[in-house]
Amino acid sequence: MSHALLAGLLTGAVFGTALYKVTAIRYERVVGMLLLTDVKIMKFAFSTISVAAFAYGLADIFGLSEATGIAPRVMAFTGWAHVAGGVLFGASMAATGFCPGTAACRAGVNLGSTRFEALFAVVGLFLGVYVYALLKLPLQGAGVIDAPQGLTLHGWMGMPYGPAAMLLGALFLTLTALVDRYLPEVPSEPVTAPRGVLDRVRGEWHFFPAGALAGLTIVAASMQDGYIGYSGSILAVYGWVADAIGQTSSLVPKVTDAIVWRAALIVGVVLGAALARLWSLPTQQEASPAARPAAFDAARSARVMLGAGGLSLGAMVGGGCTTGAFLSAFPTLSVGSFAMGTTFFASAMGTAWLMRRVGAVRLVGGRVQLPAVGRS
């Protein structure tokens, strides 16, 4: 169990470092991606998917999958659950600027500060799991959540996995290059201009190195027979705690090494992000007085908690979050992840567009300003 705990912590810490260094934790970056006014996080995500797909594809084609453990774990297809969960998850993501992984990451970055939104978001994530535990059976009874099926695109097309994964990787790398050419990215804003290689490492990272690190971490998780997905990690922590206090949840009937690994994963993200903050150069945003509010905003914290509850419930119903149903799952060619991922991005982009229309999100010079919730 201690090996699973350490391995999960380390894997989560590396992934959390990538999220922090590419600034995926910033509300402006997330909403900017949804409004197509700042696509850095989109390029990071596409790079992650392409690198992971190439690694899986190469391992399969050259017959190394079984020996190395570099083999995909397929997110199940569960029918209309992807639509129901995806709509809720996407709307919540646009409203809060969080996903489960970045909420944990931001909680780590804000350790020791007077910003508490991310902490309330993490509490909201657990509340979402609790609501899901209550709703799961009724949703299954109503036919919203079907029995899981291991459907894959390459299986449906009758193709071997390796070449199909290479084609997917090529597609996402091409998309990354096209997005980089034709859509805007708001440049990073270091407090002082970087001088030398060390300053570049300590500053905000380009999307591709961060994406490559995240993609390789996803592959490394496969080598440990694990899977990176943070709503699943929240569920694992929930199940572990429930078991520890003698209230074993039907969602996690037994605390195995796999559950411990998954629970450690999200704790690792918090620690990795906190450490990355320590060795990184501060951005102008982090150095500004707004990063150290003097008063606690209870209303905003409550809204974030509610939004995070929606995120978590949506991810539970739909089968995964931004990491588990998109970054980790697309390289496996899972049909369920395609259904969930396209639904939640459509919902998130629609919600962000509506928020902009009603003035809840403002753009100044192409930059997202003054979010209603989730600012950091």
């Binding site: 084609i61 091409t174 699943g232 199940g239 995964g320 992840s337």
Partner: protein, 44 residues
């Protein structure tokens, strides 16, 4: 064309060649691999 674009398109060409090689070779080790059991019934 930027340095990243040159890198990306060169990588895409190599990836397509490897995919073609994989198809020609016909290695299909993972096609029959059943989806592994996931945490609490789902990947998430």
């Amino acid at each position: 064309m930027t340095r990243f674009e040159r890198f990306a398109y060169a990588t895409v060409v190599v990836a397509l060649l490897v995919a073609w090689f994989g198809l020609a070779r016909g290695n299909d080790a993972l096609r029959s691999r059943a989806p592994s059991a996931q945490v609490a019934g789902g990947a998430r």
